[in-house]
């Protein structure tokens, strides 16, 4: 039975929901839950695996250092949940272009843009590079390029209060559209083609339970998680000079 080192109420609830596979506990064999505010990377210490909850964007040098960590690390990005990502890949799509529009509050603006880029990466099917970027006081738009030269456009506007909304679309003969909104814990994934629209089942597992379960499963299988590498790629697009 794996110990989970956390004092965050949502994760303590997730531990209860995963019993008997995990229980609360700390120490070198535990999974440590790290809040993502500020220099979260300095807290990745003294545990066998980590869950990083909603990390603030980190500099490239930090990501380069973290790449050497050889333990399972799950990154909780509620706007880019891995189970919703899996739903978005449930049917093959050959996108001609990918567009992502995000709108949200100023305090979370950089992470929102980073998560919009995350969806762009997912729908484009691989890593992205920046072709152009424009910023105003209340918006950013980026021209990106993905695998096989596919074009990607990401726009983030500042507005509203806490939270926000994101719409990501892969445009092609078959389209996939993902809608994430802080007003609802349930993301929507829909495919459109000649047969009409098919909406994927909503994913109802809590983000905290999902993260712990993925780490426990990775530990059991001796497998790695790609979350941190994907976070590094998305952070690198949003703040390449830091």
């Amino acid at each position: 039975m794996t110990g989970v080192w956390t004092d965050l109420p949502a994760y303590r609830a997730a531990v209860a929901e995963l019993a008997p596979r995990v229980r609360l506990g700390d120490g070198g064999e535990a999974i440590r839950v790290v809040g993502g505010r500020g220099a979260w990377w300095e807290r990745l210490d003294g545990a066998a695996a980590y869950v990083i909850d909603e990390p603030d964007p980190a500099p490239a040098a930090v990501h380069a250092r973290l790449a050497a960590l050889d333990v399972p690390i799950a990154v909780v990005r509620r706007r880019v949940r891995p189970d919703v990502v899996a739903e978005a890949g449930a049917e093959p799509v050959s996108p001609r272009h990918v567009v992502v529009d995000a709108w949200g509050g100023r305090t979370d603006a950089t992470a929102l843009l980073r998560d919009a880029v995350g969806w762009a990466r997912v729908l484009a099917g691989g890593p992205l590079s920046v072709s152009a970027r424009a910023d105003t006081a209340a918006a950013t738009t980026m021209a990106l390029r993905g695998r096989d030269g596919i074009g990607v456009s990401v726009t983030r506007a500042i507005g509203g209060g806490v939270g926000g909304a994101l719409v990501a679309s892969a445009l092609g003969s078959r389209r996939v559209e993902v809608r994430v909104d802080s007003a609802s814990p349930l993301a929507e994934v829909a495919f459109d083609d000649l047969e009409g629209r098919r909406v994927r089942p909503v994913r109802r597992e809590s983000a905290e339970r999902l993260a712990l379960r993925r780490v426990v499963d990775a530990q059991a299988a001796g497998a790695a998680l790609s979350d941190l590498r994907e976070l590094a790629a998305d952070d690198g697009i949003v703040q390449p000079d830091e």
Binding site: T136, A139, T141, R145, T155, V167, A183
Partner: protein, 348 residues
């Protein structure tokens, strides 16, 4: 009174759109004459509506029953046909978009119409959609500036929609020979993007100007295969992203305009072209997370643009020549800027 309409043109935009749309207008208009360039398709359309048909434009412009000239010819002929209509003494013109191919030409045409008091409606149907009017009212009631506008089009061929507004298909026109397109060639790519912005972007760029009226700066522009463009603008302190992809098959056409403001995000989803199942769907997501979806108006932009012309003819609305001029200048400045950006090839 029903105003007699003479339509110059015999393509799908006439047979599947304007000719049947006139029947939705409560008797304000009746189709009396259709002309083509010699294809014979005008006769097939006219026969369906008990109208006359002719080849060329002279007989139509001389027809005493023609009160309104509807110019639905190929875009390159719009300016010539507006001028011919004015020269023939016609003072009510409906011109399909785009009005002209250059800003100078558009400026001249509008000035020539204004000089003789001719009424002119350009068929920018989305601008007339009741949902757009509602969306802009909602935005003006909000506190805060527009920070971003995004326009996303993913279009399937229109012929699937033509079938929904015609009893029988018209005989196909002669096949159009198009040389293979090489989007890696900057000149070809720039020409395609300019044509698409001027001819397709013209549906929605007047909406963008409605929200952020200022001289736009093109931030980037690039072609999207198989046919399409992706561009970004900076205008009036806001960012605009406009992406369009035209595909040979696939899902129902997507036609969406999203507006981000400080207090809300508004999404306007227009119906596919040609169909008449109501106007656009407007959804507002406010700062508290409340989603509001307005009812879809039974009238769409195609119907509303003709009703706007009827209101002008009745003297119930004023002609806004400056708006027409500014819309055309806005669209064509973006088309030219986008072509220059693609030619420069800075962003792929």
């Amino acid at each position: 009174m029903a105003w007699g309409v003479g339509i110059i043109g015999s393509g799908p935009g006439v047979a599947a759109l304007h000719a049947p749309t006139l029947a939705r207008l409560g008797g304000d208009f009746r189709l009396v004459h259709v002309s083509d360039a010699g294809s014979g398709r005008a006769a097939a359309i006219a026969e369906r509506f008990d109208a006359r048909a002719s080849a060329g434009i002279d007989a139509l412009l001389a027809d005493p029953d023609v009160d309104v000239v509807a110019i639905c010819s190929p875009p390159a002929l719009h300016a010539e046909h507006v001028r011919a209509s004015l020269a023939a003494g016609r003072r009510a013109i409906f011109c399909e978009k785009p009005l002209a191919d250059t800003a100078d030409e558009a400026e001249l045409l509008v000035a020539e119409c204004a000089a003789v008091g001719a009424l002119l409606v350009v068929g920018t149907n989305h601008l007339f959609d009741p949902a757009w009017v509602r969306a802009t009212h909602h935005l003006s009631a909000l506190d805060g500036r527009i920070s971003a506008v995004t326009v996303t089009l993913c279009l399937s061929p229109n012929d699937r929609y033509h079938a929904l507004t015609m009893g029988d298909p018209l005989p196909a026109g002669p096949p159009v020979a198009r040389p293979p397109l090489d989007l890696d060639d900057p000149e070809q790519s720039a020409a395609v993007v300019r044509q698409l912005v001027a001819g397709l972007g013209v549906h929605d760029l007047p909406l963008v100007r409605d929200l952020v009226p200022a001289t736009p700066e093109v931030v980037w522009a690039r072609a999207v295969p198989p046919i399409g463009f992706d561009l970004a603008l900076r205008t009036n302190g806001a960012l605009v992203r406009f992406t369009t992809v035209m595909l040979p098959d696939g899902a129902d056409s997507l036609w969406r305009v999203s507006i981000a403001a400080a207090g809300a995000r508004v999404e306007v989803e227009f119906p596919p072209p040609f169909v008449h199942v109501g106007g656009a769907r407007t959804t507002v997501r406010d700062a508290q997370g409340v989603h509001t979806t307005y009812p879809i108006d039974r009238r769409d932009g195609y119907e509303a643009e003709w009703r706007a012309l009827a209101a002008l003819l009745r003297g119930e609305a004023a002609m806004e020549y400056d708006e027409l001029r500014a819309d055309a200048a806005f669209v064509l400045a973006i088309a030219d800027g986008a072509a220059a950006a693609v030619r420069a090839g800075a962003v792929r």
